[in-house]
């Protein structure tokens, strides 16, 4: 019990310290939290399309275009197709949970 309490903050810290990576570097099925701050025209459109800061996205297809899902699963719900050029400019924090599920 105590050990988990001690461990939790470490993971939290680790997640926060991990530097964000471009969306295009996610692997298929991996989830990430969007880091988007600008207010350029392109970013405003992406945010209005649902790619809002701190929202969770799932990578469904890599390449040109890359396809991401905003609803946690590929296939269902809201999916966006992004040109590589745009996806490369969107930064994400890799979600630790999916990272671990993948490595298992």
């Amino acid at each position: 019990m105590i050990s988990t309490m001690q461990e939790l903050p470490v993971t939290e810290q680790k997640r926060d310290l991990r530097s964000p990576i471009p969306l295009t570097q996610l692997t298929r099925g991996q989830k990430g939290r969007v880091r988007i701050e600008d207010t350029t025209e392109e970013v405003k459109l992406l945010r209005a399309m649902g790619l809002r800061p701190n929202s969770e996205v799932t990578m469904c297809r890599l390449g040109e275009p890359c396809i991401i899902s905003l609803n946690g699963h590929c296939g269902d719900g809201c999916r966006l197709g992004l040109a590589k050029e745009i996806a490369g400019r969107v930064m994400v924090h890799v979600d630790q949970d999916t990272d671990q599920t993948k490595s298992e």
């Binding site: 399309m49 649902g50 396809i67 905003l70 590929c74 296939g75 719900g77 809201c78 197709g81 745009i86």
Partner: protein
């Protein structure tokens, strides 16, 4: 008394229908107003406006937007309409009396952005939570009363597809009031506000299902190889259906107008009135309407394909091909439509979001081989390869390929010079695959067909009348000395041929012929090329009139006599070099006055139309020159 009554009395009560793309807004709109909607442009823009009378109000279907706060022309139009600065033609521009915000029940959080922006307009409003049927199937539950409390206005769950809740929605619109709550205006704050509301009102009974089929289809349709293959298969099928099915009504229209013209000619005494009616007006209208079946089929099938959700995927596939040439994937529908006719193609370029991308698309669209070129292609490929159907087919196909290549190269050039910059990379929602909305497709097709008839019809008819006049006058009698060997029929032909030479068009042809001399064209061909400005398909009948004095091209011997036509010096007119040169000219040249006019209108200036005309003529002339001179040199 509702707050609506306190607004100043104006021409008519208007209700602006606002919402994201892909939320079923148009389906809901069609369900409410039926087939009464009128389609026009918002004045001074290329954005399409649909509006319809409902009870004592006018409903205006705004273009789908993700946010009002963007530079895209759709957002600008929505802002102007909501501010009362813009209204569809025929509706007085004033601040809307109510806003109907349509949102998607399956995508609630994202849709709250536009709701917040609408609330900030401080106009009476109602929120329609659409696609309720789909949300129920997915186990998504939304507390509408609570959402209404959060937003401070009526919230009605409905489905434009099944009609559920639409009556409640309409009575809510009648009693619409200004929201008694405010919403944030800053983007960060709007997002936080949306998340708070979402967590209060929405709950999914189960975790969202993982639809493997959609994911698989998506990955196939956007795959670098499979995507291109499926695209090619679908498009070939589409074209096959269009050409195959359209041939039946086209033949009917052709024979109907032929019979009708003959009937009118028989009813009226021979003379200028009969000539104007039969050769000018009836032939002109017939020549336009004959393309209607293809255009109607094309737009119907494209609307169906869009309804399935496939077109969004196809746009990405084609974007990979087009982007190196400075065109966006959005240009795909306009360029595809241009293979039927450049006019609806150029009009479809409105869907291209980036202004530079849109201009490039409009400029190169007429390079696509439209159906009006087909009769000319057929004539020339038959003359070139009289004994080999396989070679005819190959030459025919290469005509299309040459047109596409010319378009891509021209776009590349234009994006390196006057429209500098790369095309805008695509970010697009991939809507769910679904069964297409037949009613919406039929309504869209009707609108497009009528728009084509109105725009092209009036123009082509006007040009046909002018060309008929130029060809028919001055109508000085030509005296042919009858010799014992000539029959009356031959005398008539010779008279017609002499008349064609003497007419204004003949005189113009004679004067301009030296320009086309290096391409191997004589006076008759020059007239044929000039007459083609009305519509390219006129070429064959113009040649027939000049060669034999009869435009009955159904007769096999007439085609033969065109093929065996001679120049004034007696040598063969359609030599190998001349035929190839003419074919290249017809592929590349802008021989269509209506297209020039439509380009000027859609591109927003005559300079673009002149540029297009000048560039295409230059390319066609130099292409034909090179072909003619090199074939002449080699043989």
């Amino acid at each position: 008394m509702s707050s609506v009554d306190s607004l100043p009395a104006v021409h008519s009560r208007t209700i602006a229908v606002l919402g994201n793309p892909n939320v079923g807004k148009t389906t809901l709109f069609n369900h409410i107003v039926g087939i009464r909607a009128k389609t026009s442009n918002f004045p001074g823009t290329t954005q399409e406006a649909r509006h319809a009378h409902y009870d004592d109000s006018v409903l205006i279907d705004l273009p789908g937007v993700y946010s009002l706060d963007l530079d895209m022309s759709e957002s600008v139009v929505c802002r102007q309409v909501l501010a009362g600065d813009l209204a569809p033609a025929g509706v007085e521009a004033h601040e809307p009396n109510a806003i109907l915000v349509v949102i998607d029940a399956t995508n609630l959080m994202r849709n709250l952005t536009i709701v917040a922006e609408a609330i900030s307009k401080r106009l009476p409003m109602v929120v329609a939570v659409n696609m309720l049927d789909l949300a129920k199937r997915r186990g998504i539950h939304i507390d509408f009363d609570r959402l209404g409390e959060c937003l401070g206005c009526s919230v009605i769950g409905c489905s434009g597809k099944t009609g559920e809740g639409v009556d409640d929605l309409m009575s809510a619109i009648r009693d619409a009031k200004i929201p008694d709550r405010s919403a944030p205006t800053d983007l960060d704050a709007i997002e936080a506000w949306g998340e708070d509301i979402y967590s209060l009102v929405a709950s999914a009974k189960e975790s969202p299902s993982n639809d493997r089929l959609t994911d698989r289809l998506d990955r196939t349709f956007t795959h670098p190889l499979l995507g291109v293959v499926s695209f090619a298969v679908i498009m070939t099928g589409l074209f096959w259906v269009i050409f195959k099915l359209a041939a039946i009504p086209m033949d009917l229209i052709d024979s109907y107008f032929g019979t009708f013209g003959g009937w009118v000619a028989g009813m009226l005494p021979e003379g200028p009135i009969s000539g104007l009616l039969v050769d000018g007006i009836i032939a002109g209208i017939g020549g336009t309407i004959i393309f209607l079946p293809q255009i109607v089929l094309l737009f119907f099938l494209l609307a169906m394909l869009e309804g399935t959700g496939y077109l969004a995927r196809a746009a990405f596939v084609i974007d990979r091909v087009l982007r190196p040439f400075g065109l966006s994937g959005h240009a795909f529908v306009p360029l595809l439509s241009s293979h039927a006719c450049a006019i609806p193609g150029i009009m479809a370029a409105r869907a291209v979001p980036d202004p530079k991308d849109r201009l490039a698309t409009i400029l190169v669209a007429p390079f696509m081989s439209c159906t009006a070129r087909i009769p000319v292609y057929v004539l020339l490929t038959v003359i070139l390869f009289p004994d080999s159907p396989a070679m005819q087919a190959a030459a025919f196909t290469s005509c299309y390929v040459i047109g596409v290549f010319a378009a891509l190269l021209s776009s590349l050039l234009v994006r390196r010079t006057i429209l500098k910059g790369a095309s805008r990379p695509m970010a697009m929602e991939l809507p769910n695959y679904r069964f297409p909305d037949l009613k919406a497709a039929a309504l869209l097709t009707y609108d497009r067909g009528m728009a084509f008839l109105r725009k092209a019809g009036t123009l082509i008819v006007a040009v046909s009348i002018v060309l008929w006049w130029l060809g028919a006058y001055p109508n000085t009698p030509v005296i042919i000395e009858p010799t014992p060997e000539t029959t009356q029929e031959q005398i008539d032909m010779m008279q017609a041929s002499a008349q064609a030479r003497n007419s204004f068009l003949g005189q113009i042809g004679g004067a301009i012929q030296p320009v086309f001399e290096p391409l191997g064209y004589d006076r008759k061909l020059t007239i044929g090329v000039l007459a083609s400005f009305a519509a390219r398909e006129v070429f064959v009948s113009t040649m027939a009139v000049q060669v034999v004095g009869s435009d009955d091209t159904e007769d096999e011997s007439v085609l033969d006599s065109i093929a065996n036509a001679t120049r004034d010096d007696g040598s063969l007119l359609f030599t190998r070099a001349t035929s190839w040169s003419l074919l290249v000219y017809y592929i590349l040249a802008m021989l269509c006055l209506p297209t020039v006019v439509v380009t000027a209108k859609e591109a927003g200036g005559w300079r673009w139309a002149w540029l297009q005309l000048g560039w295409m003529t230059l390319l066609a002339y130099s292409g034909a020159l090179i072909v003619y001179q090199s074939i002449t040199l080699l043989s």
